[in-house]
């Protein structure tokens, strides 16, 4: 697992991609994190009231734990996780080999739309980070 050095251009480009694909679709908060639980980019209007550091660490650990569950049943990995809440839900998806995208959205946005947009976003973020 290599160290991640983030330049202003990579961060800005990623932020714009997240804003255009997910935030404009009505998503509350998006965190792009690495597998060690560090926050790479945080977007959305609810990030100030949220303990994003804890959320990132737990999401990375949760993703790692479910990867181990996947291995127990003969899968390499689960590509996405979804936790349904009463008001807000969380969608977690792997991007490339080192990054994880955490999307928090309310009941006004459908899961289908999130899955579609995250799939599109995953490709563009992978491209951005591949070019660094």
């Amino acid at each position: 697992m290599a160290d991640l050095v983030l330049t202003t251009s990579i961060l800005e480009e990623t932020r714009i991609q997240i804003e255009n694909t997910l935030i404009k679709a009505g998503v509350n908060t998006v965190l792009l994190i690495d597998e060690a639980g560090n926050i790479v980019v945080a977007c959305g209007h609810k990030t100030d009231n949220l303990d994003t550091i804890s959320l990132a660490a737990l999401a990375a650990a949760n993703f790692g734990a479910t990867s181990q569950i996947a291995k127990l049943i003969g899968e390499d990995d689960f590509a996405l996780l979804f936790h349904k809440g009463e008001k807000d839900s969380i969608h977690v998806a792997r991007i490339g080999t080192d990054l994880i995208l955490v999307t928090i959205f309310g009941d006004n946005v459908s899961l289908g739309l999130i899955r579609l947009r995250v799939a599109q976003l995953a490709k563009s973020i992978e491209k951005t980070f591949g070019q660094k």
């Binding site: 697992m1 330049t7 560090n38 550091i53």
Partner: protein, 203 residues
């Protein structure tokens, strides 16, 4: 896996406290949390479980000020010490930049200390890392038990068991009273930041 944000001028490092069950890893973090002021520390995250044991990990984010214009942000993690939680320990070690190995002075923990260090070496290897390349310090905890009637190990015994190959700096500690806790943190932070900085910024 350190994260260097050139846009915000921040360096994020991950330091893991490793050691056998009940050796005092969480106690170290709790002491640091209680002793630091609100500006320098984040929220301590402990995953709620029944009983005192750490089941997954504890996390304490710290802000250590600036070096060369870069904000140094450190995340302290603990692992569950009990032997059966091997998979969880491996998971927490993902992306580690610095290590504190906490050893227990109690004589009954003699074998557990050695087992835990071997377990650490094995788990690091699974991430293609070795103890020799990751900044590491040793903490011999519960030194306040030595003068009591409770059977303890000698410093020499602990050194032979744990530091013969590693040959790193040792800190005597009594984490419940805070003795040696900040000395350990200061040294491992210094070594970790130096390790990350020389790798990326000064080259």
């Amino acid at each position: 896996m350190a994260l260097i944000n050139l846009s915000k001028r921040e360096i994020h490092c991950k330091i893991v406290y490793y050691g056998s069950g009940r050796c005092g890893k969480t106690t170290n973090l709790l002491y640091i949390y209680n002793a630091m002021n609100n500006k320098a520390r984040g929220k301590m995250l402990t995953i709620e479980t029944k009983g005192e044991r750490t089941l997954f990990f504890d996390l304490l984010p710290l802000n250590l000020g600036k070096i060369n214009g870069f904000d140094i942000r450190i995340q302290l993690y603990t692992v569950p010490g009990q032997t059966i939680y091997k998979a969880t320990r491996k998971l927490v070690l993902k992306g580690v930049d610095g290590l504190v190995f906490v050893a227990d002075y109690l004589k009954v923990r003699h074998e557990k200390n050695i087992e835990s260090l071997q377990d650490l070496r094995r788990n690091l290897l699974e991430h293609n890392l070795t103890l020799e390349e990751i900044p590491t310090v040793l903490q011999f905890n519960k030194c306040d038990m030595v003068p009591t009637p409770i059977p303890t190990l000698t410093r020499e015994e602990l050194e032979i068991d744990l530091n013969r190959e590693l040959n790193t700096k040792i800190f005597e500690a009594a984490a419940t009273k805070g003795i040696g806790v900040f000395e350990t943190l200061k040294e491992i932070s210094k070594r970790t930041v130096h390790y990350v900085a020389t790798k990326h910024l000064l080259t």
